[in-house]
């Protein structure tokens, strides 16, 4: 059932739709570049995993969702959340550990969440979001509502037991979940090929008798269309789909890793297939003007500049906040003792 999907006929999309996707992709890249710069300057700390190169899969997948839908993200989650509509300023502020961040500074880069957007958590534990997304799918299923849940995870995460256990349940119970694997070919330094015996992650769908589809994750439209179809299936009660988007992680695993362990060819390919450059060219090809494109780029850039200023100027949380939010009903003895 694993097939490599190429788009047969391109349905036409409105310019504003295409420009909108492009602008969001640029927004994500600028966000990540700004984060990298701030990290290098020592303005923020911790483990920051950038998704530069993966913007098409973030935006393509999230564009296929409706506002009532849900999603889960990963340690490499800024792009997923921004693609879903998270505010760059509050996202950036969270990276800075500021009180105005989405989690009041308590979460940090690996835990950006805006629950009001249906984001059920980013996750620092590889594979841990998969059961959570499955639980969201379970709720839609037992309540008979038609939201779908999009579950992002990496190629390497597909070797965690949660992948098997969760997809098995979703398949057995026909849950409306889209398991969306961003295959950038590496888990930190380990090539997925060296720790897997199939050519694709999508082939694993056979073990659960559900569709498994491998696509070009650098093409936001291919991603959008494939996810859209899976969303339709799920919404109709036809169950889960496993989608594998082939993509590239331009940066190291996290800030501070220069990815010397990868062959040079990796970045050559990645540059050639860079989703932003190629999508830009395609927009021009579809007759969208250079001026409109530049305007979108400028708008994205401006939003990030403002986000940076917002984050930088925001206050750190008051240290009295440190014990808050641990329990919903504050019981002094729980936290104090």
């Amino acid at each position: 059932m694993a097939v490599t999907k190429t788009r047969e006929s391109a349905p036409s999309y409105s310019s504003s739709f295409l420009l909108g996707m492009y602008q969001r992709m640029v927004l994500i890249r600028r966000f990540e570049e700004q984060a990298a710069e701030s990290f290098t300057k020592g303005m923020l700390a911790g483990n920051i995993h950038l998704c530069i190169g993966q913007e098409a899969s973030c935006v393509g997948a999230c564009t296929a969702l409706e506002s009532r839908d849900f999603m889960t993200s990963t340690h490499r989650g800024h792009g997923h959340c921004l693609a879903r509509g998270a505010r760059p300023d509050r996202t950036m502020a969270e990276l800075f550990g500021k009180a105005t961040g989405y989690c009041g500074g308590k979460g940090g880069s690996m835990h950006i969440v805006d629950v009001s957007l249906g984001i059920l958590g980013a996750n620092g534990i590889v594979g841990a979001g998969i059961p959570i997304a499955t639980g969201s799918g379970l709720v839609s299923s037992i309540q008979g509502t038609d939201e779908v849940t999009l579950c992002f995870f990496g190629d390497a995460a597909s070797n965690q037991g949660t992948f098997h256990e969760s997809i098995n349940m979703a398949a057995a119970w026909n849950l409306p979940v889209i398991y969306f694997c961003e295959n950038n070919q590496y888990g930190v330094s380990v090539p997925i090929r060296s720790v897997m015996n199939t050519d694709t992650v999508a082939e694993r769908a056979k073990a659960y008798n559900i569709p498994g589809i491998t696509i070009d994750g650098n093409d936001p439209i291919a991603v959008y269309e494939t996810v859209r179809q899976a969303v339709d299936r799920a919404r109709k009660g036809e169950g889960p789909t496993l989608i594998e988007a082939l993509t590239y992680r331009h940066m190291g695993h996290y800030m501070g890793d220069n990815a010397w362990y990868r062959p040079e060819s990796y970045m050559e390919e990645a540059t050639e297939r860079d989703c932003l450059a190629n999508f830009r060219a395609r927009l021009l090809g579809e007759g969208i003007s250079e001026a409109d494109i530049t305007a979108a780029e400028q708008a994205a850039k401006k939003e990030i500049e403002e986000a940076y200023v917002f984050a930088d100027e925001s206050p750190y949380p008051d240290i009295s906040a440190v014990t808050e939010d641990m329990y919903s009903q504050m019981n002094d003895r729980c936290v104090a003792r």
């Binding site: 849900f70 889960t72 961040g101 989405y102 989690c103 009041g104 500074g105 308590k106 979460g107 835990h111 969440v113 805006d114 629950v115 059920l120 958590g121 996750n123 620092g124 534990i125 841990a128 998969i130 059961p131 959570i132 997304a133 499955t134 639980g135 969201s136 379970l138 709720v139 299923s141 037992i142 309540q143 037991g161 949660t162 256990e165 969760s166 098995n168 349940m169 057995a172 808050e324 939010d325 641990m326 329990y327 919903s328 009903q329 019981n331 003895r333 729980c334 936290v335 003792r337």
Partner: protein
């Protein structure tokens, strides 16, 4: 009042909550047709249907994580781990997800879920099915930990746990399930964090919970015959802790013994000792004593298992030693 077993009491409590609040669902192995190995969910499938009784594959790591996801969507899952020892394959959703998500999201989510698990030795279930792991859970911030001993408490506490908005670990001692006791007919929801002074006394305070409550009461009875007056307190919940009751009792008796079934090293007794030493040192007439399980894996062989966890005689001896009697 009606007489029912602890297992029936838990079942009744859950059933009432499921009737009251349709967001409450059951998740776990063999909960459907079989009604769970200890008959805790008997009849639930018929009464509430398969959308509220989720019978899972043997995938604890993921079905517990799935429950966390469901809780984030406003559902109130009650998850059963067939034995508390199986937390070994489901620790991540408990420790790194359920317990932390509220905090890590800056309070954006609540995780109103209960994880029920039978625990305890005495059933010859051997090394991987007999532990009392409450100390492991109390060391994980974000969890509440409940260990009822009586049928009435079990019912009142499972109801409170289900209504609680935080993740609650609800530990049921296997050897208490069959115990038949009076349970009030009216609805009782016992607040988490309220200990129960089962026996008043003046010479020494004994803190305990779960199955050891019965051992300790028997010990206290025998000690009374020898003129030693024990105050026996069933803690009922370990997080949150009912400090006021502990404090009042220690201020009265000036001696404290903690009796628990679980492994001694790093057990609850250690934490209680430390808290009392920190805050009530000057009240004490003797060093805080601990009676607990040995620092070993549970042996299968009955005579070995019986020396592994504390017996009535152990508590009697400990009290006498501590009071120099």
């Amino acid at each position: 009042m009606s007489k029912m077993s602890v297992s029936a009491a838990i079942r009744e409590g859950m059933r009432e909550e499921m009737q009251r609040d349709e967001r409450v669902i059951q998740v776990g192995e063999d909960l459907g047709v079989m009604g769970s190995p200890f008959a805790i969910t008997k009849g639930f499938l018929e009464e509430f249907g398969p959308n509220r009784v989720i019978e899972t594959p043997i995938s604890e790591g993921s079905f517990t994580g799935m429950a966390v996801g469901a809780a984030m969507r406003g559902i109130r899952p009650v998850v059963e781990l067939m034995y508390n020892d199986f937390i070994s394959v489901a620790l991540d959703p408990v420790m790194n997800q359920a317990a932390k998500l509220r905090y890590m999201t800056g309070g954006q989510v609540t995780i109103p879920m209960v994880i029920r698990a039978p625990m305890g030795a005495g059933r010859r279930n051997a090394g991987q099915h007999s532990a009392c792991l409450e100390a492991l859970f109390t060391h994980i911030p974000g969890l509440k930990v409940v260990c009822p001993s009586s049928a009435a408490d079990a019912k009142a506490l499972i109801k409170a746990s289900i209504r609680d908005n935080d993740p609650v670990i609800f530990l049921e001692h296997k050897l208490l399930y069959a115990k038949k006791e009076e349970v009030p007919d009216e609805e009782i929801v016992l607040p988490l964090g309220q200990a129960n002074v089962l026996r008043e006394g003046t010479d020494i305070t004994i803190l305990t919970w779960s199955r050891q409550v019965y051992f300790v009461q028997e010990a206290a009875e025998k000690l009374a015959a020898e003129g030693i007056s024990c105050e026996v307190i069933d803690l009922r919940t370990l997080v949150p802790l009912d400090w006021d009751t502990i404090k009042a009792s220690v201020e009265k008796t000036h001696n404290l013994l903690v009796v628990e079934e679980g492994v001694k090293r790093g057990g609850i007794g250690a934490e209680l000792t430390a808290q009392v030493i920190e805050e009530l040192y000057d009240e004490l007439d003797s060093p805080v004593g601990r009676v607990a399980g040995l620092n070993i894996c549970s042996p299968f062989s009955p005579p070995l298992e019986d020396v592994n966890f504390p017996q009535v005689a152990d508590s009697i001896a400990a009290v006498k030693r501590q009071l120099n009697r």
